[in-house]
């Protein structure tokens, strides 16, 4: 460990302060929406912020009990983003006479409570190492679920949803976590073998194929997602996470290069042979062509989003004063465009900075983590968060083709919310482990870790 260890302090009071600040931001957003759209029901705002406040406090209290050295910034940022998302969903509701906000609040409750239970059960992230191959199996099952006839449904051309009762879910969102756990566990156990064995070709050190078999399987899985389920966004996400984690584990740039090569090959192949990818590319490149604009499933969504953001300009129209609801999926896929329009470039950049800060704290956790598994897991989870943001913002701004990824914590959609809140508590647990006093390493919690954990941790230092 290169960091100088200062006497660890619990930063829970700071967290509480920031939490209140986050809730204040959310309440202000709701207030502005309420005033501008002349929403008469004040109770909605009180309920939304109140419930979110209670949920934030539950996690906060659990952290005080179980992980008091956890990073103090992560939770408030997640709460702030979640609150802003609720406010925007409520704002779109006002315009469309829908009630997505209540549904989203219910999902928030479920997500945070499940995350709280996860926090309470897991306590120490190293527990998760015991589930290496169970995670892989779980990932496979989660990804295959939507393909089961009768259970899975195709929405907007992608078969990534399942229907449970009246609710639809994207099990793939949870697969992000299980895959990250698998990659982290597998790579932390086998990185020596991957690093040492294998041939050197020029400047590149190539690993042995059999060491990489499970990784190749995982890679095939992500490609399978693209081909079979037609979900470009998740495919990019899985693949990116995979590449980054292998790179962090091995420190070999060769992996990144091979990864990029595969992306290019896969991309060119998909772009030229797969109908829906070709269409999507055309929609992206020729978005302003009136024919493409008018085509069903054409560029209307992205172009209207761009018009909305342009309308917002530097300062935005003000919350509730624009017309983001004219963009299809304004409260989910296009929520960044909705924010761009109503709180302007300044506001939306502030949101992007919040994401950057969250991800920086996640990677800071990875840096400080005392075990390879923790480092890899924190990195992997941070990267999934980052890639979700980058892919969707890049899509909305037409830097890359638009894909249906959820903006973390903000976009309407329960599965994403659930997955991201679980990611948050895992990051919090890892950060607690990274920042707690060294003398606590012998506490009984470590006993649950695999015997090799301590050994690995020493090695990676």
């Amino acid at each position: 460990m290169t960091e100088v260890q200062t006497a660890p302090v619990s930063r829970r009071n700071l967290e509480l302060l920031l939490l209140l600040l986050a809730l204040a931001v959310g309440a202000s957003a709701f207030y502005l929406v309420g005033v501008t759209t002349e929403a008469t029901d004040v109770m909605v705002i009180v309920k939304q912020i109140g419930v979110l406040g209670v949920l934030g406090l539950i996690i906060h209290v659990l952290l005080r009990i179980f992980a008091k050295y956890a990073d103090p910034v992560i939770l408030p940022i997640a709460v702030a983003l979640n609150a802003l998302g609720l406010a925007m969903i409520y704002r779109i509701d006002m315009a469309k006479s829908t009630d997505q906000a209540s549904r989203q609040l219910l999902w928030t409750v479920i997500a945070v409570l499940v995350a709280a239970v996860a926090l309470w059960i897991i306590r120490d992230h190293r527990t998760l190492r015991r589930f290496t191959y169970i995670s892989l199996a779980a990932s496979l099952i989660l990804l295959v679920l939507p393909m089961i006839p009768g259970l899975g449904v195709t929405i907007n051309g992608a078969r990534i949803w399942i229907h449970v009762g009246s609710y639809s879910m994207q099990p793939g969102e949870l697969a992000k976590i299980t895959l990250a756990v698998f990659f982290a566990a597998y790579l932390s156990s086998n990185r020596d073998l991957i690093l040492m064995a294998g041939r050197k070709v020029g400047p590149l050190q190539l690993p042995r194929m059999r060491d990489m078999a499970p990784m190749v399987l995982a890679w095939l899985m992500s490609i399978g997602v693209l081909v079979v389920q037609r979900d470009l966004g998740s495919s990019i996400l899985f693949f990116g996470m995979f590449i980054v984690m292998v790179y962090v584990a091995t420190a070999r740039i060769s992996w990144v290069l091979i990864g990029f090569l595969l992306v290019v090959v896969g991309g060119v192949f998909a772009g030229s042979t797969m109908g829906h990818v070709t269409r999507r590319l055309n929609t992206w490149l020729n978005a302003f062509d009136p024919e493409v604009y008018q085509a069903s499933g054409g560029s209307m969504q992205i172009v209207e989003g761009l018009f909305g953001m342009a309308d917002g300009g530097l300062f935005g129209t003000g919350l509730g004063a624009g017309s983001p609801y004219r963009v299809p999926l304004a409260n989910s896929d296009m929520i960044i465009a909705s924010f761009g329009e109503e709180i302007g470039l300044i506001g939306v950049v502030a949101i992007v900075l919040l994401f950057m800060l969250l991800i920086s704290r996640g990677l800071r956790t990875a840096l400080g983590s005392r075990d390879a598994f923790g480092k890899l897991l924190a990195t992997g989870l941070s990267v999934t968060l980052a890639l979700q943001c980058v892919v969707i913002i890049g899509g909305v701004t037409r830097l890359i083709p638009l894909t249906g990824l959820a903006t973390p914590f903000m976009a309407a959609g329960g599965s994403s919310l659930l997955a991201n809140w679980i990611i948050v508590v895992i990051l919090l647990l890892i950060s607690h482990n990274a920042r707690r006093p060294m003398d606590e390493t012998a506490t009984p919690t470590d006993v649950v870790a695999t015997p090799s954990a301590t050994h690995k941790a020493v090695k990676s230092s």
Partner: protein
């Protein structure tokens, strides 16, 4: 591992910065370009969600925004007495844009006009919805309705204009066939398109043209008012000047014969005074006059009366045309309102206005006043001269001549007891169709002219045109002076 993690952080930060770059490009650098994109309907959407000012006639709205719960917008444009005012108001629609006054007055009606800046700022600070101003027209509701009711519903295309010669205020401007702008203001793009197709299928009807100011029609003999002005101005002619009046004349430089109108009584006098030939609308003396005075004199007079001039009332008026660089034979036809001489009904009304108002044409105008949401009057156009068309003396002589047609000439069917009406009729043949454009333009009362009245009936058989135009003129004159 930490080294790699730091690099990952750098890479992700770079990706985020690219995203911020993308957002900055769209919301700052490219925002104007995107706003100007023809596909961008946001400005329009915004307008449809705000109360738009009303267009008023006699204080009552003929076009107004009413709150609606249907459809995707907060307000629906509603036209009252729609057919009577359709060619003035036009329509305001999402699907087909806006036309006529709805388009021309958009700045006032939406409140985006620079004169309403203060109101916008006030609305911003008080948090109120910004509202557009209302515009009151100079139109006299009773006369407008009367004119509309006078024109038969048999598909005949006829236009009636009444103006105040002393102020230029337009009191009546009606054309039938008309349409219901409400049909085009519907929010459903599909419905609007279907309705538009139906309306445009009507013969002689286009929602994009107000015939009174956009139809260029051969003025026929009504153009002889201008010939007479040119003649008197030259000093060679007055009402008593004796002129040759052959019943047929060879057009200069050709073998084509041009005759006086068969049904008239021109042929009874081979020599006649200008007064007689004006009263009976004989053609041959004007052909001679055209060769005598030359093209220049007519170009000069027509320009002073408004031909070829830009005019906004504030609707854009299509400039009327008098041809240039003509052969003598063409000039001969042009001065009797044929060949390429084309005038809008409003232009021929302005000719009457000029004669009536001692040679000065007042700027024709539809706007009485603009009223801000707080009822403050933000604009009230003052009457102003459009042009000095001729001298008071020449105007007085021509005004005197225009008595003839009503008393003993081509317009006897317009006579209204007790009203000293002065007019000139016109009949322009349309090629070899056997159809004519019938005109009457004039003013009253003769001693102190107040109103100029113009009637135009397009593409009808001669008899019908003559009778209908006369009847419309007569009834309209009655209505105007019954108030």
């Amino acid at each position: 591992m930490n080294h790699a993690i730091r690099r990952v952080w750098i890479a992700l930060t770079a990706l985020f910065l690219i995203c911020i770059g993308g957002l900055t490009y769209i919301q700052f650098f490219a925002s104007q370009t995107l706003a100007d994109n023809p596909m961008n309907k946001r400005q329009l959407y915004r307008e449809f969600d705000l109360p738009r000012g009303a267009i008023l006639v006699d204080g009552k709205s003929i076009a107004e925004s009413v709150a609606t719960d249907e459809g995707q917008f907060t307000y629906q444009r509603k036209y009252n007495n729609p057919e009577v005012y359709a060619h003035l108001t036009g329509f305001y629609s999402l699907a087909n844009g806006s036309t006529h006054l709805e388009s021309q007055l958009n700045g006032w009606l939406t409140g985006s006009s620079s004169d309403l800046l203060f109101d916008r700022l006030a609305a911003m600070f008080t948090g109120q919805e910004s509202e557009g101003a209302s515009v009151e027209l100079t139109i006299d509701g009773r006369l407008q309705q009367t004119a509309y009711d006078l024109i038969p519903n048999d598909g005949t295309k006829a236009t009636i204009i009444v103006t105040d010669v002393k102020t230029g205020a337009i009191k009546t401007m009606v054309t039938k066939p008309s349409y219901d702008p409400n049909q085009l203001a519907v929010h459903s793009t599909k419905k609007a398109a279907d309705n538009l197709k139906k309306i445009n299928a009507t013969d002689g009807l286009s929602v994009y043209r107000n015939p009174a100011i956009n139809d260029l029609v051969s003025p026929g003999s009504s153009f002889k008012i201008l010939d007479t002005v040119a003649g008197i101005e030259s000093g060679k002619y007055n009402k008593d000047t004796k002129l040759e009046n052959p019943s047929k004349i060879k057009l200069p430089g050709t073998n084509t014969q041009l005759g006086n109108f068969d049904a008239g009584i021109c042929s009874s006098r081979p020599n006649a005074t200008l007064e007689f030939i004006f009263t009976q609308s004989c053609n041959t003396p004007f052909v001679n006059m055209s060769q005598d005075l030359g093209e220049g004199a007519f170009v000069d007079v027509t320009e002073r009366f408004g031909f070829g001039q830009q005019l906004n009332i504030p609707l854009r008026v299509t400039p009327s045309e008098f041809p240039r660089d003509m052969e003598p034979s063409q000039l001969a036809m042009a001065v009797i309102g044929q060949f390429d001489t084309k005038a809008t009904p409003l232009q021929m009304n302005m000719v009457a206005m000029g004669i009536a108002n001692k040679g000065v044409i007042m700027q024709p105008n539809l706007i009485k006043k603009v009223i801000a949401p707080d009822l403050r009057i933000v604009d009230e156009p003052k009457p102003k001269a459009f042009s000095t068309a001729t001298t008071p003396e020449v105007a007085a002589q021509v005004a005197e001549l225009m008595k003839g047609p009503v008393e003993s000439g081509t317009a006897m069917n317009t006579r209204v007891p007790g009203v000293d009406l002065r007019v000139k009729t016109g009949t322009a043949q349309i090629g070899n169709t056997g159809l004519v454009n019938s005109w009457i333009t004039g003013f009253a009362p003769g001693d102190d002219p107040q109103y100029a009245i113009t009637v135009n009936v397009e593409r009808v058989p001669y008899d019908k045109g003559h009778n209908l135009a006369g009847a419309l003129m007569k009834e309209m004159t009655k209505a105007v002076f019954a108030q």
